[in-house]
Symmetry: C2
Subunit: 558 residues, 2 copies
């Protein structure tokens, strides 16, 4: 008959390593079958229950430490619980040279003034405070801690951006700065591939594979998983991308993230288009707009991102710097799928973009009869089709719409498709070209582009249709892919970033860092040959929340 | 001073060609500046208004024909309106051999009994009725008409499936059956690539490019754009895929669609996995699960789909027929991104699949502590992390979860990641392997697979970690991509289809078809050398809805 005994300790802070070691210590005792040592959050209590370690009579609050022992008999259980204090002390005394360690971040900075980096892995509820202190001291922050609020993240990142500092995280698992891994990081050789990673093990998988493929990493800058959500607006990713764009030692950039908010994806892709080096983009779960748009290369897996970065053929990069226009695109399609694929490709870099056949709801054009900003219209949509022939047969609707778009002074390009073949109009350009020429007479500044779908066996004579368009100055493409690349390069790249740049020299200096939280991260820095100081951190008032609140109030009254 | 005059004709049916020709006839008249001839739906009235052709005083219902003329002066406008009847008659008398044409589908079938195909392009509100008639006559339907209700589509397709007949559409633009294009279709040479297309111009773009690249098409079967939505369940796409799988003349299948409903995507991908030939999949806007999973090749653009179908290297296809299991996968990850990328890849073929870090909401696992069906767990999620070390440092949580999963008799595979590097546990397999061996002692039938991320410079010794796993019978992969392919092939392919197969012989016979609706589609069939009969179709009661309803009631009382 097994026996379960437990002990609840209110309002005292122990770090996770201590808790793990206490649990292991208990498990080694005679007669102990299982043990759990957790902060008594609902999730952790559920977890104990799943392991049959939570009797109904246990009562503990989320801030309490809950110690549960399951043993063969009553005395073994009792004995184990009685040894908790001793096990906690044993752990403490095994820690070396503690007395020589600074007990605050500011003291650590005095000890290692050349440290530009602060690693923070204290529990979430204390992490923002430590990060704020680090920023006040002018240090970049690697914020491993999770359970940090979104509000704190935004506030920290805005402060950091003003100062030209990075906040990598919260919940940032991985970074490699100047050859030294922060947090969880594989050992990889130095090289010319830079990484911006809004995904921890994503960065690990990509940097490890780049190493395994024989090349290496300049810097890998983490951002934390929420950075690419609209609320945060990719503050860190933009800073990191900008730094790697300016870094001469970085020849290729890899940009990885879980699915970003669409607006954030667009702003980052536009910023990446402005780089004068190749950027491999992998937004996990985000449909790639193309395989390649100018200097951008889109991957569909972590390993493909790594392979592309290593083996990419960059010869033709950046040969297509088109004049960038501030005007709008209007795409007038007869083919629904062609409209859709074009929108899918362009949404990555043109913003705002609307359509009567949107991919996401916020792209929906209120009134299909009137375009706004960049617009892609499917003129074959059933909205237009009651009692009317399809625009592949009857050009009237499209010609009227072309004239309407041309009357809008903000329009810079009219894009359309010409779909040949059986069933279609026998000479579509015979009607479209005169309409285009009429528009050109008054709007020389509007560029026309066409996507022509057809074969040399089609009844319309493919070559003469293409020639008629080209003679009228229409830029002709044969696939949506080519069209998307051209239009993206024309409209996509945005203005320069408006923020204080991160000081590149600080990335290039031998890494020196201050560690607050998990001691193993400090040890890892030392083992990599970096200079580091570990702060013997304790939460305010030893983790007693009520006392801490009282202290904070007294402090603010001073 | 321009003058606008108009004429409203209630309850009379004219086909779209007549309306277009009337409008063009009016525009040729002296003094006429612009003209509009439309069914007076709200959309069409808006369109007239946009073209300044809709005075406020016009009153017309959606079933009414509205004729508007803008002219230089009153008499020109008056004259034009007065000529409407004559223009309508002129159009009529120009049509040849009308008298010899059948006036009903059943009469047409008697005239061309070898026709297995009926093309329907009558207005949407009549189309379902004609399609039903065609199915009753045992014919495949190409349903070009749009504005057909979803309910009608589902009913028609269910009926057709029972009979082994195809309903391509509604709103199906394109098909190529045995070398003959139906609706809008490019002329392409015959070849060994078959296409299933839930997208009209998508099918055109892909088939045209395949021709332009020098090869050709066996059959291209359209489905209509809604076929891959949950409500319809891809009835036609499944039938078409099944037919092309069985067709010896088809060596490669291309499957294209706008974004399918996730459940439908999974069912189609599983069906495609069952093919013993390569299938190129392009679901526009759907993030590809991988570049390749067994015989499946995922493209990210229409042109890439065409290029892959033509140039694909199929040598290694189908060498990996793994024993398919009916049991479930449990993935226990320490890396959030690795979990996410694995889920992204597996969701395409494993169903149902759940996660505490879902890609779509319906995948959300209610209780992160208990798996269901196929499950991918991110054990590093902050839910688990309060007061606990990350699973890359502390293996306790994962080992407990492995035991828990192994206690579930429905579990067939446990997948996990081992992420090495700085900061991570110094010998994770030292703790994981004994736990695995303990499980294997009682559950020999559970397969273990691991994804190992690391480099040869990592502190853990990559090779010894891999060897320890392999010695314990764990299947080791180095990337999510490889893992996804292996697991997909193991669990993905589903059972055989349970429906009446389409009669392949009917696809292989010289195409003979009956056309109801747009005469140009009939002419196109003839010009391609197909046998065809055009039905001189008129709506019931000449398009007078009230009269038609009365007739229908009388008929039902008979």
């Amino acid at each position: 008959m097994t026996v379960i005994k437990w002990n609840v300790r209110a309002g005292t802070y122990y770090d996770s390593v201590v808790l793990m070691q206490l649990q292991r210590g208990l498990l080694e005792l005679d007669g102990v079958i299982d043990a759990g040592v957790v902060m008594a959050t609902p999730a952790n209590k559920d977890l104990l229950a799943t392991n049959n370690l939570l009797p109904d009579t246990v009562s503990a609050n989320p801030d309490d430490l809950l110690i549960v022992v399951k043993a063969d008999d009553d005395s073994s259980a009792e004995n184990a619980i009685n040894q908790v204090d001793e096990l906690l002390t044993r752990r403490k005394s095994s820690s070396v040279s503690e007395d020589f360690r600074p007990r605050s971040l500011s003291a650590a900075v005095k000890q290692l003034p050349e440290a530009h980096w602060v690693l923070i892995s204290v529990p979430g509820r204390y992490a923002a405070g430590v990060a704020r202190e680090a920023l006040d001291l002018g240090k970049h922050v690697f914020l491993y801690s999770d359970n940090v609020s979104l509000e704190d993240e935004i506030a920290l990142k805005k402060t950091a951006r003003e100062k030209g500092l990075l906040v990598m995280g919260p919940d940032c698992g991985t970074a490699i700065i100047n050859g030294v891994g922060l947090g969880f990081a594989n050992r990889v050789r130095r090289g010319d591939i830079g990484v911006v990673g809004a995904s921890g093990t994503g960065t690990q998988a990509v940097t490890a594979q780049i190493h395994n493929l024989g090349t290496g990493i300049s810097h890998a800058i983490g951002t934390g998983g929420r950075d690419l959500k609209s609320d945060v607006g990719a503050i860190t990713a933009h800073q990191a991308l900008d730094a790697l764009k300016r870094d001469d030692e970085t020849k290729v950039i890899v940009l990885i993230s879980k699915p970003p908010s669409p607006d954030v994806a667009t702003s980052l892709i536009s910023a990446a288009q402005n780089a004068d080096k190749p950027v491999v983009v992998y937004f996990i779960g985000y449909p790639p707009p193309a395989r390649k748009i100018g200097n951008l290369h889109f991957a569909i897996s972590l390993s493909e991102a790594a392979e592309t970065a290593v083996n990419g053929n960059w010869e033709l990069v950046i040969d297509k710097k088109l004049p960038i226009t501030n005007y709008y695109l209007r795409g007038l399609f007869s083919g629904g799928t062609l409209a859709y694929e074009t929108l899918l490709g362009l949404q990555a870099s043109l913003t705002p973009i609307y359509s009567n056949a949107p991919i996401t709801n916020y792209q929906l054009l209120d009134d299909p009869l009137h375009s706004r900003a960049h617009t892609i219209i499917d003129l074959g949509d059933e909205f237009f089709m009651v009692g009317r022939l399809h625009p592949m047969i009857d050009n009237d609707l499209r010609i009227r719409r072309m004239k309407q778009e041309a009357a809008d002074p903000e329009v810079g390009m009219i894009l359309f498709d010409v779909v040949l073949g059986e069933g279609s109009h026998l000479n579509p350009t015979g009607e479209l070209v005169p309409a285009i020429r009429a528009i050109q007479a008054s709007r020389k500044d509007i560029e026309f582009a066409a996507m022509v779908i057809g074969t040399d066996d089609d009844p319309q004579n493919l070559q003469s249709q293409i020639s008629a368009l080209e003679e009228a100055g229409v830029k002709v493409f044969r696939t949506a892919t080519e069209t998307v690349e051209y239009v993206s390069l024309k409209f996509g790249a945005n203005k320069q970033n408006q923020f204080t740049p991160v000081n590149l020299e600080q990335l290039k200096q031998p890494l020196a860092a201050i560690n607050v939280g998990l001691e193993s991260f400090y040890e890892s820095l030392i083992s990599q040959g970096a200079q580091a100081v570990h702060v013997e951190w304790k939460p305010p008032a030893g983790g007693n929340e009520k006392m801490a609140a009282l202290l904070a109030r007294m402090k603010s009254k001073k």
